[in-house]
């Protein structure tokens, strides 16, 4: 059973006024897809870095599956905003990287990499070079690379921010399909409110100075997409638009007050 838990977590940077995160508590149930949104500086990426193990909390506890996080590990896959792929490797070797680090034999890891590439719609692109790929393909490859070690938790740091609107929507659908198939716990950081509402089971709204959680909104549009409803219909539904405006108004009100 996998479970991500933040317990009164604070993060201070030396020489900086006020904490980046101030006593944040949050739990992710197994198989949940939680989106974190907020203005820049609200600490949403810090939240993700804590789970990934890139950062340690100044106070409080971050635990995964009941155990405190101690550094990065292959049980948590991370997808980055600017893909962070390895340009000296082709698509197949990028996807196979985690398996190579584990010492898996060449033929075995190639087979695994081929399988995840097919899952993200990159079948046939195994020997493409990173710089020959479009932004959409690179993010798919980023996903495939994170999936190859079959992590229980997937951490996505604004993965679709640099994509054009049409590509972004297809990759969002891909993410939902993968999530529906694998039942991974997903923590998605984004500044796109529509994306958060469409994908997540719960949307966590954060505010800066100090970074804290100000609202948690239940949403279920992603599950409805998996049940067969169309993306455009869901995103233009009155309930969706009402929620979007509600979140937007909340974020705006706090921006004005700050």
């Amino acid at each position: 059973m996998t479970d991500v838990r933040f317990d009164q977590v604070s993060v201070h940077y030396p020489g900086q006024h006020g904490p980046v995160l101030d006593r944040v508590s949050l739990s992710l149930a197994p198989g949940e897809l939680v989106a974190v949104i907020g203005a820049s500086g609200c600490g949403k990426t810090t939240l993700l870095n804590l789970v990934a193990g890139f950062q340690t909390p100044s106070a409080g506890r971050v635990s995964v599956a009941g155990r405190p996080v101690a550094g990065p590990g292959a049980d948590r896959g991370v997808v980055f905003q600017d893909d962070a792929l390895f340009p000296w490797l082709d698509a197949l070797d990028n996807a196979a990287f985690a398996a190579r680090m584990q010492g898996v034999a060449r033929s075995e890891r190639d087979a695994r990499a081929r399988a995840v590439l097919a899952q993200v719609g990159l079948g046939g692109a195994e020997h493409r070079r990173v710089w020959e790929m479009s932004g959409g393909m690179r993010q798919r490859l980023g996903l495939a690379r994170a999936l190859v070690a079959d992590p229980a938790i997937l951490l996505l740091d604004e993965p679709f921010a640099a994509l054009d609107a049409l590509t972004r929507e297809t990759v969002q659908e891909l993410l939902l399909t993968l999530w529906g198939r694998t039942a991974k716990t997903v923590l998605l950081v984004t500044h796109d409110i529509e994306e958060a509402l469409f994908l997540a089971t719960r949307v966590v709204v954060m505010a800066p100075r100090p970074g804290r959680i100000v609202d948690v909104i239940e949403a279920g549009f992603g599950r409805r997409f998996l049940a067969g409803e169309a993306t455009r219909a869901l995103k233009s539904e009155p309930a969706f638009i009402a929620l979007r405006e509600q979140v937007l108004a909340g974020v705006f009100a706090r921006e004005q007050a700050a």
């Binding site: 990934a52 590990g73 980055f80 962070a84 390895f86 000296w88 690379r145 994170a146 590509t167």
Partner: protein, 280 residues
């Protein structure tokens, strides 16, 4: 889920355009202009000597230099043929270069990876690097004598600094996200080193090798000042003492051609080994 048509089509047109219809002309023009520059220079050289504007002693004609090339290649100059001079210089250069690569790259990796190593090695390199090789050449001769060792050592020191500095810069230039990505994929510290940091620094290392090679050639003549009996630098200096200007020019051209050729080899290696450089 199938791949979005938008996605698959977006990938290639950019590449196709770059190598499309207008490209061959651009490539040809880029190659032609430098050749034209050289041709004009050669013509001007020929013209001023042909009409006696500059005396032979100062500037022999291109034909005379070419004739000298043939003569020195077959009969030799100061007891050695051109090929023997060339072999002596190239041997020193390549020995020094190989030693600088074998020691400089690990030193650079160490500096980039460890603040302690950086604190120890960085000041040593920064202190000797700005000093002209001719200034410390006498010291090297006093310590290591007038044999081959001193000559190779002088060139080695000139090549070493750029290799170390470029390698260290390459190591420090690894994007944080790329390192974090590798750590999240389960890479150990050692694996980070050879599977991420080293390939990531490779473009900088190769640039360092190119700069180092250039620095090595510029030190070659100084290195062959001391008790050499063969070598292109030695040949040029001997010729200068007897005002054999055509051999001086010949030596310069041979060094230029060989240096250009070796630089081309490294550029070829850059294209082959780091094709992503500048594109990602």
């Amino acid at each position: 889920m199938t791949m979005h048509p938008f996605d698959s089509q977006l990938a290639l047109p950019g590449v196709a355009e770059a190598t499309g219809a207008s490209a061959p002309w651009r490539v040809r023009r880029e190659r032609l202009i430098p050749l034209a520059t050289i041709a004009v220079l050669l013509f001007a050289w020929w013209a001023v000597t042909r009409f006696g504007l500059i005396p032979d002693l100062f500037l022999p004609s291109p034909q005379a230099v070419f004739a000298k090339l043939v003569a020195v290649a077959t009969d030799g100059f100061v007891d050695a043929t051109l090929w023997q001079h060339l072999a002596a210089s190239l041997g020193r250069m390549l020995t020094a270069f190989a030693a600088a690569v074998v020691t400089g790259v690990p030193l650079g990796l160490l500096i980039g990876a460890s603040p302690v190593a950086r604190g120890i090695i960085d000041p040593l390199i920064e202190l000797y690097r700005p000093v002209p090789p001719l200034a410390y050449l006498p010291l090297i001769v006093i310590w290591f004598g007038i044999g081959e060792l001193s000559k190779v050592l002088l060139i080695y020191l000139a090549v070493l600094a750029p290799v170390v500095i470029a390698t260290a810069a390459g190591v420090r230039g690894v994007p944080r996200d790329r390192l974090n990505a590798a750590r999240a994929l389960g890479a150990s510290r050692l694996q980070l080193g050879y599977a991420v940091i080293l390939p990531n620094a490779l473009p900088d290392i190769l640039t360092g090798l190119r700069i180092g090679l250039g620095a090595g050639w510029s030190t070659l003549v100084a290195a062959e000042l001391v008790a050499a009996t063969r070598g292109l630098g030695f040949m040029i200096q001997s010729a200068a003492q007897f005002l054999v200007t055509d051999v001086v020019l010949l030596g310069i051209f041979v060094i230029a051609a060989v240096a250009f050729g070796l630089d081309g080899l490294i550029r070829l290696a850059q294209r082959r080994l780091t094709p992503w450089h500048g594109r990602v």
